[in-house]
């Protein structure tokens, strides 16, 4: 049963976009303040991309969610494996940052670009699946009486 109006829900999403979007923006600014530290500066455009993803969600585009989530996990990976920061400082926050937008996902709409990307990814997925299936099908099962040179029971 719905207990909040569509307007309230829309406003709540706007507030969340503003809060998390601000975080992404200032992290983009702070991470650009490491001159000569390329591993750190790399994160500045990534965070900016996250902020753009959130802006798209503010405009109710699902593509924004996927951009944000992808970059979010890239940041987590980067901190843990490149900057060698403590893993649990990055896993939980980055899951939470994306998850907070999930209840609003169905209220967002698809875009033509988003559809194309989706189609493209699906095509790759199908191709990979067919390749895997083909490989699995071509594998010969081992026959019990195959031509084995050295039987365990000493037969020649």
């Amino acid at each position: 049963m719905n207990i909040v109006s569509r307007t309230f829900k829309a406003r709540l999403l706007n507030v969340i976009c503003a809060l998390i979007g601000t975080m992404m923006l200032y992290r983009s600014v702070t991470d650009s303040s490491y001159p000569g530290y390329i591993q750190r500066e790399f994160l500045a455009p990534v965070f900016l991309g996250g902020a753009i993803g959130i802006f798209l969600m503010y405009r109710r585009y699902r593509l924004g969610f996927w951009i944000f989530t992808t970059l979010n996990f890239l940041v987590g990976y980067w901190f843990i494996f490149v900057l060698e920061d403590v893993w649990y400082h990055h896993v939980l926050p980055h899951i939470v940052f994306s998850a907070v937008f999930l209840p609003f996902y169905l209220d967002m709409r698809r875009t033509r670009v988003g559809n194309r990307i989706r189609e493209f990814l699906l095509r790759i997925g199908r191709k990979l699946w067919s390749l895997l299936s083909a490989n699995a099908g071509s594998a010969h099962p081992i026959e019990p009486n195959s031509d084995v040179a050295n039987h365990a029971d000493g037969r020649a």
Binding site: I16, S33, E84, D85, V96
Partner: protein
């Protein structure tokens, strides 16, 4: 949207904001950037401010405790350049609040001369800096009832250091209550120092710092590892040898990281980029030239003697033994530092950085102390690993004839004996454990004229 979905959304939002707040208060903020590497060496952050003293309080300590440190932090030997608020070797970075920390220049910068004629020597052992006294002062001052938030605000006002409204709130309600606990922890972690002779200026005992960190209970024994700060210039010429006084590590990176960790950095927040920048700069940092006249003819004679009596075999690049360890039985210098570094310590070091790409795996025990190149040796006194011999002339005397007590921590050069001339400094007692001035009796039998020539040559290095 259902009630459950709304609750979940609000919980997730609250968690996201809490996690971000936590990040802002415990993770380092971007450090101040210095375009020139020497400025970065002097004032840049290596990430050692993690548990550093809160800067807004720290900068008022000389005013609040003017009776104890009338010359400010210079009382401990910190060097402040004109136009700079911070002494060399102190960096400021925000970890929640702005904090002060050490950097490489803390232990590796000194000065010769005094007043306006003073010359700063980057990469030199900070023989004037009494780090232990500074740490003890911070602990004492923090427990002193005179140090209150009101005293800090009044001092800041008097010194025209504006503190904003928000910072005032944070200092009063967050920083001060936490400072008490922080200082208690520091006091406990420094308890082992009470069982040992004071370090005095220019020395530290990193070995016991590590033992304390690993829970080896150094306060229960009197094992000593106090050594002089070494010079860190011309690192390229040392890169294929062993580092630390006993040559216990052959990796420059591990030496640098272990120094940063000993200086206050944390494994998980190690600023390897910054440490690497300093390290690269130090590879080719030249040692300073002697600040007085040098007799070139005497230098030539001295060089011949240097080669003839065998100094070159251990201390010249051509000798092939630079960076190698000479066993303690041959050297006969004070064994305390050597004895401290046991297999147990090696095993503990092997755990440092576990899980990180930089983890330590080059530590080892050795049989003695390492042969050092003598570049800028005139600026590296007092001599031997524990700084127990005040001058090179004294080092060329038989161990029994070397000064039993002498003053150290001054910045005026003794051009004749080659060392630092000190009339009012810390009294170093060679009779105390770990302070022995025995051994290294090479060249002690030379006639006075040859010693003079040898000293002249050493001044020229």
């Amino acid at each position: 949207m259902t009630r459950l979905a709304l609750v979940i959304t609000l919980i997730l939002l609250g968690t996201a904001l809490t996690l971000e707040f936590k990040r802002l208060t415990m993770k380092p903020w971007p450090p101040e950037y210095f375009a020139s590497p020497d400025m970065h060496f002097k004032y840049g952050s290596i990430g050692a401010e993690v548990n550093g003293y809160p800067y807004l309080i720290w900068r008022e300590l000389p005013t609040i405790f003017a009776d104890r440190i009338p010359k400010g932090f210079a009382e401990f030997g910190f060097i402040t350049e004109p136009g700079h608020d911070l002494p060399i070797g102190i960096s400021v970075r925000r970890y929640g609040v702005k904090r002060v920390g050490f950097n490489c220049a803390t232990c590796h910068t000194s000065a010769v001369g005094s007043g306006n004629s003073a010359q700063i020597l980057l990469g030199a052992p900070a023989q004037q800096l009494d780090l232990q006294a500074y740490m003890r002062f911070l602990v004492d001052a923090s427990s002193d009832p005179r140090l209150t938030h009101t005293a800090v605000f009044e001092s800041a006002k008097r010194n025209e250091h504006p503190i904003g409204f928000f910072d005032r709130l944070v200092i009063r309600y967050v920083v001060f209550p936490k400072l008490v606990a922080q200082i208690e922890r520091t006091k406990t972690s420094m308890a082992w120092m009470g069982n040992r002779p004071p370090h005095g200026p220019g020395r530290t005992d990193a070995g016991n710092f590590w033992r304390e960190r690993w829970g080896l209970n150094p306060q229960a024994d009197n094992v000593i590892g106090t050594v002089d700060f070494p010079s860190v210039w011309n690192q390229r010429s040392r890169i294929h040898g062993s580092f630390h006084w006993d040559g216990n590590n052959s990796s420059l990176d591990e030496r640098n990281i272990s120094a940063a960790l000993a200086g206050g950095a944390a494994e998980w927040l190690l600023d390897r980029n910054s440490i690497g920048r300093v390290s690269n700069w130090l590879l080719d940092l030249r040692s300073p030239t002697f600040p007085g006249p040098i007799d070139s003819q005497l230098v030539s004679k001295g060089k011949v003697i240097f080669n003839r009596v065998g100094c070159a075999s251990c201390h010249d690049v051509s000798g092939g033994r630079i960076g190698k360890v000479t066993c303690i039985e041959e050297l006969k210098t004070d064994p305390a530092r050597h004895d401290l570094f046991t297999e147990e310590i090696v095993e503990k070091f092997e755990q440092v950085g576990s899980g990180y790409s930089w983890h330590f795996h080059h530590y080892r025990t050795t049989e003695g102390y390492v042969n050092m190149p003598l570049d800028g040796i005139w600026a590296r006194g007092p001599y031997l690993h524990n700084g127990s011999v005040p001058s090179l002339l004294a080092l060329l005397s038989r161990p029994g004839e070397r000064p039993k007590r002498f003053l150290r921590g001054c910045t005026n050069i003794d051009a004749t004996a080659v060392g630092f001339q000190c009339d009012n400094g810390f009294e170093f007692d060679t009779a105390l454990k770990g302070n022995g001035n025995s051994g290294h009796d090479y060249g002690t039998a030379l006639p006075a004229s040859e010693k003079a020539a040898l000293l002249e040559y050493l001044k020229s290095l």
